[in-house]
Symmetry: C2
Subunit: 337 residues, 2 copies
């Protein structure tokens, strides 16, 4: 891997830069909107919200809303508020996820719930969700409101599905894919779909952007799942093993349970289901995943979804924004290496 | 009180019955809508949602939406979905409140978070909020969407304000009134305002219904605050003392801090701020509240807000629905006795 990795990293960076540059003017306004809409006389609200918002997420979801609006030739102001809404929905989900997962860290910082308590994470998440809907309503597109409110319900449904599947190593691959379609990909799909929708473009283009976003979202989540076990190399590094320690069932585990020996399954049952994790168990888990080719096949599936995302854009003629959206797919997948 | 109480109770019941009867046909459809929209393939969702929804709340908020729509001569179907949305927003708030307050009981039943965990309470609350927005969008009134999404953000803001004021006995009366205006009255106000709005009635009527709901909501909360210390009689009974044990600052406490002796304040600081509660302290608290006339004056303020609610309806001519709405105010206040 020694030679390949730097190359892939360079490619990954180039992959997202075109997209970031094409939306940068609008993105500045999204960032202003985000700042102004986290404002409140209740000082705890901007404190908690900005703790997370300023912690350097990639803002991929609002970027996608801006990009698909520009791809659709949209001329107006609505995409800025919709993009900010999408980011608020995402941030609210992260705040609530931390409470659900009892996370101590988020994006390399102490989690909001550890600093301000579960209460603040729940309530500031609710506030951001309310603010998200306010902004959407201001844009005034009932169709965009429908897409995003559908997404809000489906995301929560996906999170509950994940909760019900938690620590159950019998979870099947199609069940797992349905969970991540709902909890992760749905917001990517909605973020992309509202672009053509507010531009008044035909249904086929809205469907194409939605398909792009959904497939990209699934690819993105699968790469995250692989990265949590060290990516393609399956080696220890920073942030490796969080899912393992939390007993999260992700695709690498699902594939290993399908393919592994009885001893492999017994190991995963002890560590993930019963939470009995001893010194050296993470290394042992990595060895088992490697032996079952679980990470490379998770990434292979991410590639398949990436290819679907790219072909969803076939309805569009060649152009800089289309190319940037294609490159963004490659960027998401190259993270795995 | 021996003679007065049964009389007051009878009056209280009569007070709400006219309203319930006038909306009963529509309310049947709201209940069907609530049941169908808590449905999900994810079985945990209807389980958790129905645990709370079927636990016999009064459904006062959706009743108000139906009542103000009928008062406004509305002919359509939208009020049913808006009423169900309002109830879902309320239920979501209760689920999240339980996590925030670490409540073990809710409406005389074990709380959802004790039965299914904090995670389920947070996520099913999020799901209901998403479903609420879906139904609102289906109704298609941007103005109603604006009112209810404003409410969602303001309610969460009020909850955070309350969190920031928690266990601080220096909270002032006007600060406390702002908290309950946001966390409780706002949803009453929005529930009432959307009735005339979807009926296309003039702004003055929408404002009148909103004022009615806001004032009624504050009165309702103040009576709840008084009831938590046994109501006008300040005597022990079932559910008395929950706020005291949780260290909640409510108007009876605020008034006592203003008026009481240094010893009274020292007592409240020990019990509410530091949470050092010993055997007999609740009885002592009731004695201190009685001595400072804190409960009767809390109820007197509730009466003032009740009178405001009634006079907000001055724009409407006399009629059965107006009379039922006036009686509902009396019902809310009579609970205090």
């Amino acid at each position: 891997m020694g030679l390949v990795q730097p190359l892939e990293e360079k490619k990954a960076q180039a992959g997202i830069e075109a997209l970031v540059s094409l939306v940068s003017a609008d993105m500045g306004r999204v960032n202003e909107m985000i700042l102004s809409r986290t404002g409140s006389d209740v000082t705890m609200i901007p404190e908690v919200a900005n703790h997370l918002i300023s912690s350097g997420g990639k803002r991929l979801r609002p970027i996608l809303t801006l990009a698909t609006a520009i791809l659709s030739g949209y001329r107006g102001e609505g995409h800025v508020k919709l993009a900010a809404s999408v980011e608020f929905m995402h941030t609210a989900t992260l705040l609530h996820d931390d409470v659900v997962d009892e996370s101590e860290m988020r994006r390399g910082k102490i989690s909001a719930r550890m600093k301000w308590g579960n209460e603040a994470s729940v309530l500031v998440g609710d506030f951001l969700l309310g603010q998200a809907f306010r902004m959407m309503v201001e844009v005034g597109s009932l169709r965009a409101l429908q897409i995003l409110s559908d997404a809000a319900a489906i995301i929560a449904e996906g999170e509950v599905m994940q909760l019900a599947a938690a620590k159950n190593i019998e979870t099947r691959e199609d069940d797992y894919l349905r969970i991540i379609a709902a909890k992760t990909a749905e917001l990517f799909g909605a973020a992309c779909e509202v672009g053509p929708v507010i531009a008044g473009r035909p249904e086929a283009e809205a469907a194409a952007c939605r398909d792009y976003g959904m497939a990209l979202g699934i690819a993105f989540q699968l790469v995250d799942d692989a990265l949590d076990y060290g990516g393609a190399a399956a080696t220890l590094g920073k942030n490796v093993g969080d899912d393992f320690r939390e007993g999260k069932i992700t695709l690498p585990i699902v594939l290993t349970v399908q393919r592994g020996t009885d001893a492999d399954r017994a190991f995963l049952r002890r560590t993930l289901e019963r939470g009995e994790i001893a010194e050296g168990d993470l290394e042992e888990a990595l060895a088992i995943l490697r032996r079952n080719r679980a990470l490379e096949d998770t990434i292979a599936r991410a590639r398949d979804y990436g290819a679907r995302a790219v072909s969803a854009l076939d309805v569009y003629p060649d152009g800089p924004m289309k190319r940037a959206l294609v490159d963004a797919v490659e960027f998401c997948i190259a993270r795995a290496y």
